[in-house]
Amino acid sequence: MSEAGVVILGNGHAGVSVAEQLRRKKYPGAITLIGAEAGLPYQRPPLSKQYLKGEWDEARLLQRNAEFYRNNDIRLIASDSVISIDPSAHRLELKSGATLPWDKLVLATGSCLQKLEIPGADAEGVVYLQNREQADALKSEMRSARRAVVIGGGYIGLEGAAALALAGLDVTLVNRSSELLARSASLPVAHWIQRRHEKQGVVFKLGEQLAEILSADNRVRGVRLANGEVLEAELVLIGIGVKPDTGLAESIGLECADGVLVDQKGVTSHPDILAAGDCTRFNHPLYGEAIHLESIQNAVEQGKRVAATLMGEEGTYDAVPWFWSDQYEAKLQIAGIAQGHDLEVIRGDEHAERFSVFCYAQRRLVAVESINAPAEHMLARQLLKAGASPPPDDAANPEFNLRSALPS
């Protein structure tokens, strides 16, 4: 082994997971973790939750403290990014001018933000929420704004709307689809979340398109919808999604399809280049087609798989995907992926404080979405992992013990 070791591009949850696991597994070579932002790697989920609400400071947001990287001999390169990779020479070039050799390269580049491209989108007071700098900007805007418009009814838009409403702002959320969480949750869950927001005073404009962001002296003063309606606001938060960051992978000809394609060991189409987290697309044994996930769980678990592969360990990546979102005091947890499901049954009462939705595709359980029912969520993960499908009538019966559907 040369001194080049493993170089990891991206210091989000996937990148840190790879580095940490390699050291836990006693990887003997050098480990270098490169991040574009200043400072130590930090956690992303609290950006739209505890950090945005001001409950956590920067120190608490960190993934690991400085001592951890020192003690584990993980070299951090911050405020820098890779501008080119030479796969045959096993070298890469940094923006700062330095050149780094590598034995194995890990792409953990995450996602690129989808930017809104309409007139006025660059006005002051128009904010996104993907990194700490943007969260800081949003926090500062929140202090002076009275009215906010949120564009996008996915997790970021909804968690942002919750934080804004709790901070006392008048919030209107505009969503292109007629349902919230259109790509990621069933209707009973989406409707429950909507009602919870409405209770907090959030106003929804669903099935509406944005035409223009209105500004004066380059300072936002509202938005105009395609139907002509004008919503006045001092703050506009945009959460219209992300795309896998495949730029570097494509630049060196790795196979990509809306994500860097990796096999079940996390290896790309180049044997010495691996990838993990939001930037990837891979075949999942539970779902039978190439899937792309944007989640902490996948970033961390796929990172572990990549570390295991780098250590020469056998095995494939088959972790059950799961997601969570905190809005107000409500916990939404999703186990599995509800794509292509043809049957939903509700366990509990969808108008009560807690319930779960069991989603089936051809009578096979593929996902369970839970509101304030963490124990059902945990059991659902075990059921999915075991490939067990309780009959829909049993799942819908709160008296039925879900544990009994697990293989003994």
Binding site: E20, Q63, R64, F68, N72, Q297, W324, K331, P374, M378
Partner: protein, 107 residues
């Protein structure tokens, strides 16, 4: 800062100094203590930060809520009388010197 001692699954002891107000899980996680997964980042939704608390200190902890109780039943390792989810325990000065054992498995 409050000094805590985490005992990792290997038996190794890790001394960690953590700020008051953080959770035990955060103290362990930021220092990379082995045996704490904390998959959900501390929202009491995954039971992968399960720990065994020093019997001498157990009375100094706030009693557990119903969510934590429910989640502990889903923990991967054996639930004992001194089992807690470390994300639900806010560090206080009275914890100085507390010993926290991490279980063999969290998943």
């Amino acid at each position: 800062m409050v000094n805590l001692i985490f005992v990792e699954p290997s038996g190794a002891e890790r001394e960690v100094a953590a700020p008051e107000g953080w959770s035990l899980m955060e103290a362990a996680f930021q220092n990379g203590v082995d045996g704490i997964e904390a998959e959900c980042g501390g929202s009491c939704t995954c039971a992968t930060c399960h720990v065994y608390i020093d019997e001498k200190f157990i009375d100094r902890l706030e009693p557990m809520g119903s969510n934590e109780d429910e989640m502990l039943d889903c923990a991967a390792a054996e639930r004992r009388d001194n089992s807690r989810l470390s994300c639900q325990i806010e560090i206080k000065v009275e914890f100085e010197g507390m010993v926290i054992q991490t279980p063999d498995t969290q998943i």
